[in-house]
């Protein structure tokens, strides 16, 4: 588990959870979601977190998640009360004249964007304050409002600068989060700055502008396209070029994500203990490929199932002596409570299947990749850290649930 060396011992991080285990948690969760009109998701989130946390073993000791589903549920109800005036305002707004509607929706959109920053920070606070390692609790201090304001102002600058300001924005937000993170009575430090993001970000930015811009330029200059009504369709060589653009975009985004996360996280320290992370871009890229392949297979499966159901209904209609036409077939799907229920159930199954696939391949994959590529230098220096009391606030996570933000 831990490698001894003469200079400083290095503690390894391992991930011991299997996809099969997570699959069972997800299946049970989705199965119970329907009869509980979605309320079971708080229990599912808690089980999922327990799975991820307790299987992440740092220097021989697993993380522990102590949050409960009722805490999430109570937070969600707080958030609902918070959002009720906004929903009422939206309802009243929808009955005004069109120019006022546009302005109103823009205002509400900005308020929600601002609140998302608050929710992201409080959700992280909730998770950290319910995370134990070696029996000591983590905590997120600092102000969620200050973080939300900071994120909001940076977002405006991001739009105005066509994304060029992103390295400074990312660095500022990372630093605010990590410099307010505590483990027991000791504060974490992060030494990384905008330079860490700038190199990979501008490389990816430039490369993709070149490939996409070049493809558009080549298409228009060679005339390798045809008109289909009002829209333009690329010609055979342009299609190949666009496929190349998508592959380059996916590869470069994976490279950026792994590179920036590895370099930034490798500047995190806790006193004498230093975190080191080295995530490869290749494994992440193959995760995305696996996700796309599985998604395509799932779509085919759903289409085949849908076709089989439609075929059965058609056969029943013919057997009942109805005219075998499209109108007759459609009439079978109208004016029936059973049909509505079946439609809702089918919709939920499709939604659940997509969500499960994303969780099983992407979320699980990223967590495992991150855990297995991390190590801690000098973990014995953490032995003297003392515990701090639990932060029992609820509303932050609730807001995150209501806005559907935050991770894991």
């Amino acid at each position: 588990m831990a490698e001894a060396s003469e200079a400083a011992r290095v503690g390894r991080v391992e991930f011991t959870g299997s996809r099969h285990e997570l699959f069972l948690i997800l299946i049970r969760g989705y199965a119970l979601m329907l009869p509980t009109i979605g309320l079971y998701r708080f229990w599912q989130a808690t089980w999922k977190r327990r799975f991820y946390w307790q299987n992440t073993v740092i220097d021989g000791e697993p993380l522990e998640y102590t949050g409960t589903a009722t805490q999430l549920l109570a937070g969600f109800f707080f958030a609902l009360a918070f959002f009720l005036p906004i929903y009422i305002a939206l309802f009243v707004l929808s009955m005004q004249e069109s120019s006022l509607i546009v302005l109103g929706y823009l205002g509400v959109g900005l308020i929600i964007w601002f609140l998302m920053g608050y929710a992201i920070y409080r959700a992280r606070d909730f998770r950290l304050s319910r995370t134990l390692w070696r029996g000591i609790r983590f905590d997120q201090r600092g102000s969620a409002w200050a973080f939300a304001l900071r994120r909001f102002v940076w977002s405006i600058l991001f739009v105005l600068s066509v994304g060029l300001i992103y390295p400074w924005m990312a660095s500022s937000l990372w630093k605010y989060r990590w410099r307010n993170t505590w483990f027991g009575d000791r504060k974490l430090e992060i030494a990384g700055n905008w330079r860490i993001f700038a190199g990979p970000y501008f490389a990816v930015y430039g490369l993709n502008i070149l490939t996409i811009g070049g493809t558009i330029l080549w298409m228009t200059s060679t005339g390798d396209y045809r008109h289909a009504g009002t829209s333009l369709l690329p010609g055979p060589i342009s299609i190949l070029a666009w496929i190349g653009c998508v592959i380059i975009l996916a590869l470069s985004c994976c490279w950026y994500r792994t590179r920036s996360a590895s370099r930034m996280l490798s500047t995190v320290s806790l006193g004498e203990a230093k975190l080191s992370v080295d995530i490869g871009a290749g494994p992440l890229f193959w995760q995305y490929v696996a996700y796309v392949v599985c998604l395509a297979m799932l779509l085919v499966l759903l289409l085949v199932t849908f076709g089989a159901v439609l075929g059965s209904v058609y056969a029943v209609a013919v057997a009942a002596g109805k005219a075998p036409g499209a109108v007759a077939l459609l009439s079978l799907f109208q004016s029936s409570t059973l049909n509505v229920v079946l439609l809702i159930a089918a919709y939920l199954v499709v939604l659940g299947a997509f969500g499960m696939l994303a969780e099983l391949i992407l979320s699980y994959g990223w967590w495992r990749l991150l855990a297995r590529s991390a190590s801690i230098a000098n973990p014995d220096s953490l032995n003297s850290i003392r515990s701090a009391p639990e932060d029992r606030s609820l509303i932050g996570q609730g807001l995150a649930d209501a806005l559907n933000v935050g991770a894991y």
């Binding site: 021989g60 029996g135 953490l382 032995n383 515990s387």
Partner: protein, 99 residues
């Protein structure tokens, strides 16, 4: 009967290798946690206040209602797990509530 465990007192972030034995003469019955190397007594837990936490499949994590919130015993290995469950039968029913 005794079992080996990793012990944390919930006050400092130090994990110690421990041996746990039951003191039946104490009132209430106590789980005595000894340092694995020196046999020095690290802590005494009221055995009836011990309960199981959620943990990965290959491990038992035991907490105690009368100790700090982060105080833990981590037990791995088939033999030690069996011994722990044998010494502390209330662990079978004393699982932390999911609510």
């Amino acid at each position: 009967m005794q079992f080996a465990a990793r012990y944390q007192d919930g006050l400092v972030a130090e994990v110690r290798a421990a041996e746990c034995v039951l003191d039946l003469a104490a009132d209430p019955v106590a789980l005595v946690i000894l340092d694995a190397a020196s046999r020095e007594v690290l802590d005494r837990w009221d055995a009836s206040a011990a309960y199981l936490l959620h943990s990965r499949m290959i491990e038992l994590r035991i907490a105690n209602r009368k100790k700090p919130a982060g105080a833990r015993l981590g037990v791995t290995g088939v033999a030690d797990t069996r011994s722990a469950l044998g010494l502390l039968p209330m662990l079978h029913t004393g699982q932390r509530k999911d609510l």
